[in-house]
């Protein structure tokens, strides 16, 4: 069965930023997911270049994707352009962080 974008996003959404308390999909950190057969490429950013969990979040995301049935390999690419802003987060996060 083919891997779907929804499955990948749902799995990545289990990764929580322990400082902010939200998952990284709701925070808007995932810029794109490309599925090529059994390989998944995730394009993502972090909320700040000074993110203390840089390496860990990258690893957690990879682990989450590799848990999906049918995924054999996964590559995580961290990009800084466009820079993350709060506008990329979903409404729940915006409301929680900006009140």
């Amino acid at each position: 069965m083919a891997i779907t974008q929804e499955e990948v996003y749902a799995s990545i959404a289990t990764v929580i930023d322990p400082e902010v308390g939200f998952d990284i999909v709701s925070l808007g950190l995932i810029y794109g997911v490309v599925i090529e057969g059994e390989h998944v490429h995730v394009n993502m950013t972090l909320s700040t270049k000074a993110c203390p969990l840089h390496e860990l979040i990258k690893q957690w995301t990879k682990d989450a994707v590799l848990k999906i049935e049918g995924v054999n390999s996964c590559e995580i690419e961290i990009v800084w352009e466009p820079a993350w802003t709060i506008m990329m987060a979903n409404d729940e996060v915006k409301k929680a962080l900006s009140f």
Partner: protein, 420 residues
């Protein structure tokens, strides 16, 4: 530049924990000694008890936390490991021994001869720190802006502790004559303006955007602060040691005040651009700290211009407690849970439920502690301004309570376990 609190470059948490635990314990002890200083709030007289308190607070708390933060942050700021972790452990234990000998000498007149020996051991421990930092920098091909702050800070530390050591010998043995007050001023400016402030400014540029999610802000004010502060502190040390005219020393202090003002603007610029708008205890501490810094500059200026001792003392008190204490305690609440979380819970992610960072702090206790600290500081400043000893004592009592709560929260964070 990638900067983080914990990467593979960072030292083991046990090393940093040594400094943080000792720092918090000495904060508690310094709060107790502050209770006995109500009688000294209306003079510049430096009693042995005051000296003991000042060293407990500055060497025991402020410097300990800064050393711990430096060992944690420097490797990740520079993206290179610290030169020697063993040096850091040796520094810690020598520092504790030397520093406690100095405190004993201040507190018990029969032990006053311990002061120069304690000062020498403390000096040597700081030299080890400086050498460790210099050797770490020596291996780099290039130094980023935050790194420059930390390098210049360490150079100032080396200079000012050398001045302190010479003073210790003169006080202990009377080997030769110096203008002690001028040397005390050079020592204080070098340590506080040169080391403490340069470190605070440098790490603030990492920590504040990180915790507040500040983006796209201009950093021109911190660049101004870097050059003006370095120049002001250097000129000030030379002018006090060299016996230059008052005009030059006054100008150097003016430069330092200007730099602190630029730093305060930079903090405001960062906080204004933050994505995270909650005003939690961390933000409250930062805002109170920066406000205290600005008010303290004003009070000290008024004190010197109109020769009002109580204004200058109140300004000094506000700098040490309103600014330094709030700034440090606010960051302890953010940094400590993260370091402990990283050490203890990060390996469990994906295997079991792990806590969020704010759950590792008793947030209601932190909120109450923050408010009580602000209240204590305001009351004590008023006590100094109006020379009311009982008011100062009341504030000191509230501050003791507040600092006990800091100790409690630190203990809570260190011992946090996952609830079933």
């Amino acid at each position: 530049m990638k900067v983080s609190l914990a990467t593979e470059m960072a030292p083991p948490f046990a090393l940093v924990a040594h400094f943080f635990i000792a720092g918090v314990v000495f904060l508690f002890l310094s709060s107790i000694s502050l209770l006995f200083l109500s009688g000294e709030i209306s003079s510049y007289f430096v009693s042995p008890l005051f000296a003991a308190f000042a060293h407990l607070y500055l060497l025991g708390f402020v410097m300990m936390i800064i050393f711990g933060a430096m060992y944690q942050l420097l490797p990740v700021v520079l993206e290179a490991p610290i030169f020697s972790k063993d040096f850091a452990y040796v520094q810690f234990y020598m520092y504790i021994v030397g520093f406690l000998m100095m405190i004993s000498g201040f507190l018990f007149s029969s032990l006053h001869l311990l002061i120069p020996y304690g000062a020498t051991i403390t000096y040597l421990s700081m030299v080890i720190f400086c050498v460790n930092i210099f050797l770490t920098f020596l291996r780099l091909e290039q130094i980023n802006f935050v790194g420059k702050f930390l390098l210049v800070a360490t150079i100032f530390l080396f200079t000012s502790v050398t001045i302190g050591l010479i003073m210790g010998f003169v006080m202990g043995h009377g080997s030769f004559e110096i203008d002690l007050m001028a040397w005390v001023k050079a020592h204080m400016i070098g340590t506080l303006g040169g080391f403490v402030m340069m470190v605070v400014m440098g790490v603030a540029m990492v920590l504040i955007p990180m915790f507040s999610l500040a983006h796209g802000f201009s950093d021109k004010w911190i660049k101004v602060a870097f050059y003006v502060q370095s120049t002001g502190v250097s000129l000030s040390i030379f002018s006090f040691l060299g016996g230059f005219s008052t005009l030059i020393s006054t100008f150097s202090l003016f430069l330092i005040a200007l730099s602190l003002f630029a730093f305060a603007i930079q903090i405001a610029v960062m906080l204004k651009s933050r994505a995270r708008k909650q005003n939690d205890y961390w933000v409250k501490n930062i805002v109170f700290a920066v406000s205290s810094l600005l008010i303290s500059i004003g009070l000290i200026l008024i004190g010197f211009i109109y020769d009002l001792q109580n204004f200058a003392l109140a300004g000094g008190f506000l700098f040490f407690f309103g600014f330094l204490l709030c700034f440090i305690v606010g960051h302890i609440y953010k940094i400590l849970p993260f370091l402990i979380w990283y050490d203890k819970f990060a390996p469990l992610v994906g295997k079991q439920k792990v806590p969020l960072l704010h759950q590792m702090i008793k947030t209601k206790v932190a909120d109450f502690q923050t408010l009580s600290l602000f209240m204590a500081i305001i009351i004590q400043v008023l006590g100094i301004l109006f020379s009311i000893q009982n008011l100062f004592f009341t504030g000191a009592l509230i501050m003791l309570l507040s600092n006990v709560l800091v100790v409690y929260n630190t203990w809570y964070t260190f011992n946090y376990t996952i609830k079933e």
